[in-house]
């Protein structure tokens, strides 16, 4: 195993006599009986110098997070770890026990985990988690000193009103503020090495950009940064060096800019190709798989409604939608404020917005799950809102939904076949016919036949989403509402699912309302785009027009916040 070539600048004061901060040679990790038993990390090597950023990129199951945790001795009791060389600050740590690791954690290496509400202890005030490092390591003993330090840290990472926020509970902070607080907690003891594990995954684009800037600022102050991500765009923004991992192995390593502009390994190439953007529109994102085996004509026989001509040419029409909700403070808030749009047959309308923009409420109004306070929805020229559910029921098959995480909409005890059969049973009464149709549908979404007896929990995220799509198209809908359908998926799986949705649009004559916070994804799939902000439509138009030359300030901010693959030569933009 050769070590990564680093062209580090001058080492910053604090590192031990010129030795790299971290040196790992031939790291192997297994959760089996021995290191050789089905290892999840198979020989990873790197060195880390002060002021440099190393990115480890890979999809889920690649071993990137396990690698990061090993640097803190947090791999878990069952992990078997072997290295040829494992040094932190020039000291051999390969034989460290838990007590020795504890002295290192927080003080020499800080860990920033992904913001989930559960990354901070929800039952304790933010100050208690942020100040936990100094308290444990007994660097600050007096209460006032500790609190002053917490406020200073929160201020440093850009949390507004730090003295107030410090005394609040995690759920009272926004996602971006929580992520900042996690970074503050990791910086509390001023460690030389900061590991950020998917630090921006759950965040909106504008917040994501701010957090990445913050991480980069800490690196510029001389810290070494290791960033773990599945997102090449995030990585390209920060990384000096890059390691691409797949199934525990390093497939490519070297200078980040070089790899991103001229990947040598086909897997890296595949990852780069899979990133959706405006430029990739109309192209397949995944290596061409056999699209779908079922002949589409089989699938259309069930309902022949597509032949019906449309009055006015709009499949779906929303006019002046308003919807208010009363918050826990008894103040009514307009979640959707005067939103109008039209959807034509075979068209994809992208709805983009950050969390709280009202996009999910729009989805509910379109689906007829909520009634608008004002305005109306028309489906295929006929009223869809403001009528009784009984009148809607017969036309429900015209509309389908695909959610971000289909797992919660499946009965966990049912097999995949039964989940789909349940939907089919509405149109076909005999069991043999139902089974045949289920087979066709699952062929259509290319779900391998061997997986059909499995339960939802036994499937991967991508496979589950295929099942959800099969179920969504089972009723031969005219419109499918996709609410963040690929947000939970790895980039190569995301590419396959987006390709599948594109194929189905052509084959089944469906239109999509495609809701996402990911501008790249929306740009890739949409003909027209609607930008929502605080419940209002900020901008609307053709997707190239809106996302390449945004007119409104908010859209401009949104577009510029999206991390791009910054690659000379490839000139690939995400949005």
């Amino acid at each position: 195993m050769s070590t990564l070539n680093t062209t580090a600048g001058s080492p910053v004061a604090g590192s031990v006599s010129g030795a790299p901060l971290v040196r790992v040679d031939g790291l192997r990790v297994s959760f089996g009986k021995s290191v050789e038993d089905n290892p999840v990390v198979r020989g990873v090597s790197f060195t880390l110098e002060p002021g440099r950023t190393l990115a480890i990129v890979g999809e889920s199951g690649s071993g990137k997070s396990v690698t990061a945790r090993t640097l803190l001795g947090l791999t878990g009791r069952n992990a078997k770890i072997a290295t040829d060389r494992f040094e932190i600050h020039g000291v051999d740590v390969s034989g460290y026990g838990d007590a020795q690791w504890r002295k290192l954690r927080g003080r020499d290496i800080g860990l920033v985990t992904q913001d989930a509400l559960v990354s901070l202890d929800q039952l304790r005030q933010v100050r208690q988690d942020v100040g936990e490092g100094p308290k444990i390591h007994k660097t600050l003993k007096r209460k006032q000193e500790l609190f002053a330090r917490v406020v200073e840290l929160l201020d440093q990472v850009g949390v507004p009103d730090p003295a107030v926020k410090a005394r609040q509970l995690p759920h009272e902070l926004s996602g971006g503020q929580r992520q900042r607080a996690l970074i503050a907690a990791a910086l509390a003891l001023d460690p030389g090495i900061l590991i950020a594990d998917e630090p921006t995954t759950a965040l909106d684009a504008t917040v994501q950009a701010q957090v990445l800037d913050l991480l980069d600022a800490t690196r510029q102050r001389g810290k070494a940064l290791i960033i773990i991500s599945h997102d090449l765009a995030v990585v390209s923004r920060l990384a000096d060096e890059l390691i691409v991992m797949r199934r525990g192995e390093v497939v490519e390593r070297g200078d980040a800019a070089e790899i991103l502009s001229a990947p040598k390994h086909e897997y890296t190439q595949k990852l780069l190709d899979a990133v959706p953007s405006g430029h990739s529109r109309g192209q397949r994102l995944s290596p061409s798989e056999t699209a779908s085996q079922a002949t589409v004509s089989d699938l259309k026989v069930v309902r022949a409604h597509h032949a019906k001509p449309l009055a006015g040419g709009n499949l779906l029409e929303a006019a002046g939608l308003v919807k208010s909700f009363t918050g826990p403070d008894r103040v009514a808030r307009r979640a959707v404020d005067n939103v109008s749009f039209q959807l034509k047959p075979r068209e994809t309308l992208g709805i983009v917005g950050e969390s709280g923009s009202g996009k999910s409420t729009v989805a509910k109004l379109v689906l007829g799950l909520e009634e608008p306070d004002e305005g109306h929805v028309r489906l295929a020229g006929e009223p869809w809102s403001g009528i009784k559910e009984k009148q809607r029921r017969d036309r429900r098959p015209d509309l389908s939904i695909i959610y971000q995480d289909p797992l919660s909409s499946f009965d966990p005890r049912w097999s995949v076949e039964r989940v789909v059969q349940d939907t089919v049973a509405r149109d076909i009464s005999d069991t043999v016919g139902q089974k045949g149709r289920v087979g066709e549908l699952l062929d259509l979404v290319s779900l391998p036949r061997g997986l059909r007896g499995r339960r939802p929990l036994e499937l991967s995220g991508g496979q589950r989403q295929r099942v959800a799509i099969a179920r969504a198209v089972a009723s031969s809908p005219r419109v499918i509402v996709c609410d963040e359908p690929v947000s939970a998926l790895d980039v190569s799986i995301q590419a396959q699912v987006l390709d599948l949705l594109g194929d189905l649009r052509d084959e089944l004559d469906v239109s999509y309302v495609f809701i996402s916070h990911d501008l790249g994804v929306v740009h890739h799939v949409s003909d027209r785009v609607l930008v929502l902000h605080n419940g209002r439509v900020v901008e609307e138009g053709g997707s190239d027009e809106v996302l390449h030359n945004p007119r409104e300030e908010y859209t401009q901010k949104l577009v510029s916040a999206v991390p791009r693959l910054r690659i000379s030569g490839r000139a690939q933009q995400v949005a």
């Binding site: 947090l74 936990e132 003891l189």
Partner: protein, 323 residues
């Protein structure tokens, strides 16, 4: 965004508490009404019961005697009148007069309630100590033995009836080993065996819900981020995870107080302890309806108060509810 002013928070907290107390009063009122209905359902025989007790045999009272008794106790009034005066009496702390001991029910109960309350609450505390102790030792540990032993003890304590445990404890520790008195003796020593008898099954139930929550909290990302700051395993368990896991245990404790209170009746008999159990068994066997309903109402009150206390504790443990 500024935090809500402490004063408004205080107003909201007071209102919340008032609502809780009001609904508790509602429960008690319902219990009192049912108790009253049970009393009046025995209307025909109440005068007869009292007469039998007075004369000491089963002779049939003359109409005049019956009427006198009916008049003395107010049985000749309309049901509504009786109901209003019964509820009115309860509001003023008047639980009625025992048919047979001819003193107020309240004074009979108050004499005996002390030992039962001591037994109930010491058992609840012991149950918590056992449950939390075993959880801290056992939950999520990779050492198979410690969690296996903890699990076994929990299963055992949750499934064995208390009178059996009581008898076995008596035989082993009092009769054979002479560590604790069989009867009487030092009141603190005499408390130990019945307390353990009552605590064991409750600790089993408590332990199971606490341990489940503990194990899942231990898998949460905040545990990893806390560990990455250098906290010890014991620190993670006590400072972070335990607080999350006691919440369902608190909910169960409201139920446990009712369970313990009624179980005390049984355990007091097994250990021949003073307490409300003796009062209730005597009242039930003699047909002393006011006394029996008094005990029932008191149990209901204990249950209601325990649940209000649990709700208050819940807010202390889970600060998210304070908003």
């Amino acid at each position: 965004m500024a935090a809500p002013a402490p004063r408004r928070r205080g107003v909201r907290a007071t209102r919340w508490l008032l609502i809780r107390v009001a609904s508790g009063v509602g429960v008690l009122w319902a219990a009192a009404t049912i108790a009253f209905l049970l009393q009046t359902l025995t209307q025909q025989s109440r005068a007869r019961l009292i007469y039998d007790q007075r004369v000491g045999n089963n002779s049939i009272p003359s109409k005049g005697v019956t009427a006198a008794i009916n008049h003395q106790y107010g049985f000749d009034n309309s049901v509504l009148h009786q109901y209003v005066s019964y509820i009115g009496g309860l509001v003023h702390g008047n639980f009625g007069v025992s048919y047979f001991q001819h003193v107020s029910v309240w004074s009979l109960i108050i004499q005996q309630i002390g030992p039962t309350l001591i037994l109930t609450f010491s058992a609840l505390i012991l149950a918590w100590v056992i449950a939390v102790g075993l959880t801290l030792l056992g939950a999520g540990r990779h050492n198979i033995w410690s969690s296996a032993i903890a699990n076994f003890l929990q299963m055992l304590s949750a499934s064995v009836p208390s009178y059996w445990v009581g008898t076995i404890l008596l035989v082993i520790f009092a009769v054979n080993l002479h560590i604790f008195p069989v009867l009487g003796g030092n009141p603190l020593l005499a408390l130990v065996l019945p307390m353990i008898t009552m605590a064991l099954p409750v600790s089993g139930f408590l332990g199971q819900v606490i341990q489940d929550e503990f194990s899942s909290a231990l898998e949460q990302p905040f545990v990893t981020s806390s560990r990455s700051r250098g906290i010890t395993d014991f620190g993670v368990r006590t400072v972070h995870v335990l607080r999350h896991s006691v919440l369902p245990g608190l909910t169960l404790s409201g139920w446990a107080v009712g369970y313990l209170f009624s179980n005390a009746v049984l355990v007091e008999q097994v250990f021949d302890r003073a307490g409300i159990g003796g009062v209730l068994t005597k009242a039930a066997s003699e047909g002393d309806v006011p006394l029996a309903t008094g005990v029932v109402l008191l149990s209901a009150a204990a249950y209601v108060i325990a649940n209000i206390v649990v709700d208050i504790l819940y807010v202390f443990v889970d600060p998210r509810l304070r908003a």
